[in-house]
Symmetry: C2
Subunit: 456 residues, 2 copies
């Protein structure tokens, strides 16, 4: 891979410039007013595939945002890597908390600041540049297929159907995804577990109109107070979710497995200092790494209702809203949990309000076997590029398509992510280290080599 690495070194600035062009396109999938920008991003990626030396590329329409597909088959007898990524990004608001505009990327302290810098534009784009480097230097070791979708941040609703309809086209030996983090640049790691997701929106309606809180307050149930009561009741004093059946299928790890997890480097004081908090909070009886790795949880992601402007308004509002989501662990079925939550919310709704619960999207948890060929190639690639053996970790986040690929294509995924906690994905001032961007391209390139060796 010497020539490829040289090629990468010689084209560093251009690789970054191209990523910047992609980051400038506000491809926010959740908000329909960015619909044209999402398509613009898809077209940009197709063009970059064409310039990088693929055999063919196409924009595949779906009922929602399109999927960009490309491939290069150098030899049908060689193993095939299917790269998955997503070109859509989270909404960037609140805009006023960004130090620089979210869609005008800048470099500061060796970090790229922009919405999508890490999640996932900066990460999937490494694969295109690694591929270009190997293709240009004749060092491609595997066949490569790319499937870059535009709906990951809204639940990948149309990816399942696309995968089902294109099983032949997507045939491969492994799925390779860079959409996760490493523990730190000193402690590189590979994710071997992901949590699932159940996401719902709750609408609580009290009176049929906003009321004067002086005239009606105390006599008419306030939907905001009631929404708080309902949400508050969902987690008990031990940090456990109170929804009946919620933990029924959660697997308890053995003492040995927990001891293994406890070996991951973790400094609670550093953690609290980084987040600016005086105390952590979570389920009693579990460590922070366990709480985010192997335990399900429930969070309010948004809440609103009544008067939220400047000053004071004495209103007893008609409606209150919240978005809540549960992170799930292997064996918990997201559809089942979603139903449990909906039923429970209806059950605890007091008579003085009407409660409507709408599911947004869900996804299943996944575990990656550490004895798989892909995982072993990932370990070797890290050892070569970073000079260190990566630590296997279980992440709190969800990439629902990992479970989908296992089910529909019978393929394991390798989660070769290079993000860091400090990247602040989904937050204002999202960033991605330039070190991680270039080191990621190098690691991916080594992965191709080791995956080819292992297969043959």
């Amino acid at each position: 891979m010497i020539k490829s690495l040289e090629y990468i070194e010689n084209n560093k600035q251009r690789f970054l410039d191209e990523l910047f062009d992609l980051l400038r396109i506000p491809s926010v999938s959740a908000d329909s007013k960015f619909k044209n920008d999402v398509r613009k991003a898809a077209e940009f990626i197709k063009q970059k595939f064409d310039e990088s030396g693929v055999d063919s590329s196409e924009i595949c329409e779906t009922a929602g945002h399109p999927i960009v597909y490309a491939e290069k088959i150098i030899d049908p007898s060689l193993p095939t890597i299917l790269v998955y990524g997503h070109y859509d990004v989270q909404p960037a608001d609140p805009y006023d908390l960004w130090d620089s505009p979210p869609f005008e990327p800048v470099i500061k302290d060796d970090r790229i600041f922009a919405r999508g810098a890490c999640d996932d534009k900066g990460q999937f784009y490494m694969h295109i540049k690694s591929f270009e480097s190997m293709a240009a230097t004749g060092e491609l070791a595997c066949n490569v297929k790319f499937m870059i979708e535009g709906e990951e941040e809204v639940g990948s609703d149309n990816l399942g159907l696309f995968v089902q309809k294109n099983k032949e086209k997507l045939k491969a030996d492994v799925i390779l995804i860079s959409d996760t983090s490493i523990l730190s640049n000193e402690h590189p790691s590979v994710t071997v577990g992901l949590r699932g997701l159940s996401y719902l929106e709750i609408e609580v309606t009290g009176p049929n109109r906003d009321l004067h809180s002086g005239v009606y307050g105390g006599a008419v149930g306030n939907p905001l107070n009631t929404l708080c009561d309902m949400i508050s009741s969902l987690i008990d004093e031990n940090g456990r979710v109170t929804i009946p059946g919620f933990y029924d299928k959660v697997e308890e790890l053995s003492d040995e497995e927990r001891a293994e997890m406890a070996k991951a480097p973790f400094d609670l004081d550093e953690y609290k200092k980084d987040l600016g908090i005086e105390a952590i909070k979570g389920e009693a009886g579990y460590s922070t790494i366990e709480r985010t790795g192997i335990r399900p949880t429930l969070d309010v992601n948004g809440i609103w209702g009544g008067y939220t402007g400047e000053g004071a308004k004495t209103v007893l509002p008609s409606k209150g809203y919240a978005k809540i989501s549960a992170r799930l662990v292997p064996n918990q079925d997201s559809k089942e949990i979603t139903k449990l939550i909906i039923d429970h919310m209806q059950k605890i709704a007091p008579k003085h309000v009407k409660v409507k619960v709408t599911p947004h999207h869900g996804g299943e948890a996944a575990v990656i076997p550490t004895d798989s060929q892909g995982y072993i190639a990932a370990v070797k690639a890290f050892e070569e590029a970073w000079g260190k053996t990566p630590i296997p970790t279980r992440d709190g986040g969800s990439i629902p398509i990992v479970a989908l690929f296992q089910k529909e294509l019978g393929l394991n995924s390798v989660l070769l992510g290079f993000g860091l906690d400090e990247d602040a994905i989904h937050s204002p001032n999202e960033s991605y280290g330039t070190f991680n961007f270039y080191k990621g391209i190098e690691t991916i390139t080594w992965f191709h080599k080791f995956f080819a060796e292992k297969e043959n």
Copy 2:
């Protein structure tokens, strides 16, 4: 008063046209972007005073929005009525719930629809038109002073200082205010009690930035969940506020007094049907009329935090906010209660968040003596204009300046309001009946006559 009533009848359309001009000015005191409109409203009112026959009028500057003052002294030996009103209005949002734009008044089903139609532009303007009618026909029976402020909806912060500084100028025998409601057009009433107010904004801060709920959820305290916990804990299962000391000074009414209150016409089924609710909710052991009249309460007026846009965002937000207010009854001191709430919120704040509580504005509860000359004149005025004896009621709303006037000027207020519940003040589609507008002008005119008779 025959000539005055004739004059009113002959100028009905013009009176309404003038009110419409005033309603077109969006004098929202809470929102600084309407600052110029608030001043425009003050100037409009001064001009109308000048046209109505006052001796003098002026726009009095304050640290905030100005106060419009006008007077006509026909004979220093006659009694003097000081009319109080406010020309500022509540914010009109949510705009999309209005059937017609809030600052483009329209008549529909004999009702004036506009922000401020009832609260308080439609009501205080009746006094200017009643005055004009009496002045034009030589039937003025009392001296009249007007003090129309522009900060009632934001706590009348600068009125206290104005009153203190102008005690001589404001010397009068009674304060007359139309900023309350009657039970119904079939059951006219006069308010003899008002609740006080304590209004606060709460900011709960968890981590120092928005986090990915997958990566941190379950391990880091979520400020929105915590805000819900804190709010939920403020009211117990009996509907009682749990803040220590909150009820300490609340006066319990005697069985006789409660029996008297229970005589007011009230139909629970009608009440629920009107509000579109299946059940009411309030403090155990008290009736709806008691809950809104003689009992203090606590409501969330607004709540917000996290992602509130379209679709789903898996964020564990840094901050959550709520506006809460307590309605107070006589003897409860609003400053004292505000401090109790602030202290309590700090006390119950868990270690994983920081809590900041900012008081907005407060006001004291008030009771109007039914044996006062002003109250007796109000009863006679209703009997003359409506053919019915009004029912004395205790209202849930707050007019903090009533307590202020008692303290600073030693004057009782008469609450000669003509609103109805269906006017939906503070809500979208606020309205005011044209019947109530004209009948109010007539009642006010009779009040002047009876107040003059009584005094002499």
